[in-house]
């Protein structure tokens, strides 16, 4: 049994809303597995089923070799879960929170200190401070420490970097890499596409369905079209003009650029350049780029 998570056709509805419509995936032991998708895609619901907080309507969920429904008691000792929302006691101090979670798992902070030392050392100077008074980045580190204090085999992180500054995000991912080296399987969800490339494998999820599962590199390699990034001084007119181009496939804004995919792969840079020149665009820049995960995502959403 070298799969940490094996999900077979999991379905879950809330009244009319079908949150999960047959999710099948497997996560190998020791992987950092990313679940990428927009808000409302079903990420949290899937996580709640994996962490035994919710029962699926149909399908089988096997976590660490145990059935998530019948084996929940044993499983809870082996899973560390960090919900998307900060869920520690705000009126307890940093130290008290950590000790509390250690004791309810029947362990002590000292016993597993080496596992969290890297992370906890950042917030240890503030250990007497109430958790509610910590900054976002520190809250996140405390939450991670508390999720790890019982030495889980599987760590489930629901959007851990949402609302956290760029530096803390980078730090956080470095911590995850270190935890992976200690043999912990990590399942993480994120709405940030750039974080996807840091995972070993990712699943793209949308509307309760898995669109694709693969390594970040293979996912982008599979992108079937050539893609151009285009820039000019008038962003809005640029988008509408490109959409009017006779060979335009997909056109969407991406930061300060517009990503353009042609109807076929016959479109060349020069062609676009000339077309935009004729329409009096200034400072035009057109270059072919390698597709990113976001391009793939938008493409897959269109196809399905």
């Amino acid at each position: 049994m070298n799969q940490a998570i094996l999900s077979e056709d999991i379905r879950k509805s809330f009244g009319e809303v079908k949150a999960l419509q047959g999710v099948s995936l497997d996560v190998g032991r020791g992987e950092i597995f990313g679940l990428i998708g927009p808000d409302g895609a079903g990420k949290t619901t899937l996580f709640r089923i994996i962490t035994t907080l919710m029962l699926p309507d149909a399908g089988r969920m096997t976590v660490l070799g145990l059935d998530a429904v019948s084996g929940y008691k044993t499983l809870r000792r082996k899973i560390g879960y960090m919900p998307g929302r900060f869920s520690l006691y705000q009126d307890l101090s940093v130290e008290e929170n950590l000790h509390f979670y250690a004791t309810v798992f029947g362990t002590t902070v000292r016993e597993n200190y080496d596992l969290i030392a890297d992370i906890y050392s950042h917030i240890e100077p503030f250990k007497k401070r109430l958790a509610g008074q910590l900054s976002g980045g520190m809250k996140q580190k405390l939450a991670l420490s508390c999720a790890l204090i019982h030495k889980p085999e599987l760590l489930v992180l629901d959007e851990p970097t949402t609302g956290v500054d760029a530096v803390s995000r980078k730090e956080f991912w470095e911590m995850l890499k270190k935890l992976q080296q200690k043999g912990i399987t990590i399942l993480v969800s994120t709405p940030y596409m750039d974080e996807a490339t840091l995972c070993d494998r990712v699943a793209l999820i949308q509307g309760g369905r898995i669109l694709d599962v693969d390594t970040p590199r293979r996912i982008t390699e599979k992108f079937p079209h050539r893609i151009f990034q285009v820039r000019s001084d008038e962003m809005f007119r640029l988008i509408t003009d490109l959409r009017d181009f006779k060979k335009a496939g997909s056109v969407f804004a991406f930061g300060q650029y517009v990503h353009f995919t042609g109807l076929d792969d016959e479109v060349e840079c020069v062609e676009l350049d000339n077309y935009l020149d004729k329409l009096n665009h200034t400072n035009v820049l057109v270059e072919e780029i390698a597709p990113g995960i976001e391009d793939v995502f938008i493409h897959l959403m269109k196809v399905s």
Binding site: L53, R76, P83, R85, L88, D91, Y101, C146
Partner: protein
């Protein structure tokens, strides 16, 4: 068992860390006892009267001075105009108007029946009723004097029945003694019902329950750890309240303290069970406040603290079978005023026990399903 200990430690820590609640839970019984108990009273003094004396005879003055002599009435106005008297009532200056018709003295002297006219302000119905009761008492005395004065010459030809009454279990009809055991019940109910319920919803609202649910902590452990601190606090508050009542108001305590605390313990389980039940169907502290307040008000007003339960309609008495506050109200009064023993009130105690177990049972069942 160790887990239980850790959970309890956490609960107490959080409770006393809250600066306001940590102090308020002990200040509340003191304030309630010292303010509520003497404030809620049915005794009325100084019923403001207006006399419209059309007679101006010796007899009419005698009647007025007899009214003034009692501690209940204060003659604030005298007038000859009925309209002016009504106007005073309208402006809330007087509570009671007594009109004495002309010829009152002459007719009573002859032994003929006379009609007096009394108008009472019934905005506050119970006050009007009590004022009327006191007034008829004074009138009865007056009449008796009149009869005996006349009969004195005729050497007692009228049969005379004297009523002597004793008020058992509250000899002096002291309303404080009546209210205090009731207020104690309300106090314990409020602590358990509001504080514990809000605490439970808070875990849900802030999402902390999610983090607890992924730990090996069992649901019953979590619930018990939520209930126990409030039971302990409720019983401590009860002890403070009783001591204060005895010290400040000389409240008698006829029965067994152990029995009172046992009943209150059972009552608290019921109150907390219900609080838990409501917390499972509400998802924010605001919602809980609203629902909890609704139940607390109904339970309190129907409990018989203000109005005797026997005078409620039959359907209301049926509803009260499900009202834990009604049971504890009765039990408290019986133990404290009457010195009832377990055998005397076992019916109430067992009913309360059944109710408490039922509430808690349903609450835990619902809690398991929803959270």
């Amino acid at each position: 068992m160790r887990t239980m200990l850790f959970l309890l430690r956490k609960e107490f820590k959080q409770l006393f860390r809250d600066r306001f609640i940590g102090k308020a839970i002990f200040a509340i019984p003191i304030v309630q006892m010292l303010v509520l108990v003497p404030a809620i009273t049915y005794e009325i003094r100084d019923v403001k009267m207006c006399i419209v004396d059309h007679d101006q005879s010796v007899e009419s003055r005698k009647l007025v001075s007899q009214l003034e002599g009692s501690s209940f009435f204060r003659v604030k106005y005298t007038t000859f105009s009925e309209r002016e008297a009504n106007d005073l009532m309208h402006r809330d200056k007087v509570d009671l108007i007594l009109q004495i018709p002309s010829g009152f003295g002459r007719e009573t002297g002859r032994g003929n029946p006379v009609r007096l006219m009394v108008t009472a302000n019934a905005i506050n119905a119970s006050r009007a009723q009590l004022a009327w009761g006191y007034f008829s008492g004074v009138m009865r005395d007056y009449q008796m004097n009149l009869v005996t004065a006349k009969a004195g010459t005729a050497s007692l030809t009228m049969p005379r029945i004297d009523l002597t009454s004793r008020h058992w279990y509250n000899e002096s009809l002291n309303y404080i003694y009546y209210m205090l055991p009731g207020v104690l019940g309300i106090l314990v109910a409020a602590i358990g019902f509001m504080l514990a319920g809000l605490n439970m919803v808070k875990e849900k609202e802030s999402g902390t329950i999610e983090q607890i649910n992924v730990t090996p902590v069992r649901k019953y452990q979590f619930i018990a750890a939520k209930m126990i601190p409030y039971i302990v606090i409720g019983l401590i508050d009860l002890a403070i309240g009783i001591s204060l009542g005895m010290l400040a108001f000389g409240m008698p305590f006829e029965g067994s303290a152990a029995l009172l605390f046992l009943s209150s313990f059972i009552f608290m389980i019921g109150a907390l069970g219900l609080a838990l039940l409501i917390s499972t169907i509400t998802s924010s502290q605001q919602q809980y406040m609203f629902a909890g307040f609704f139940f607390l008000i109904i339970f309190m007003l129907m409990s018989g603290i203000f109005t005797p339960m026997d005078s409620m309609p039959a359907w209301a008495q049926k509803i009260n079978l499900l009202n834990p506050v009604a049971y504890i109200m009765r039990i408290n009064r019986m133990i404290m005023l009457k010195g009832s023993t377990f055998a005397d009130i076992s019916r109430d105690i067992f009913s309360l026990l059944v109710l408490s177990v039922l509430f808690t049972f349903f609450a835990i069942r619902k809690y398991r399903k929803t959270v």
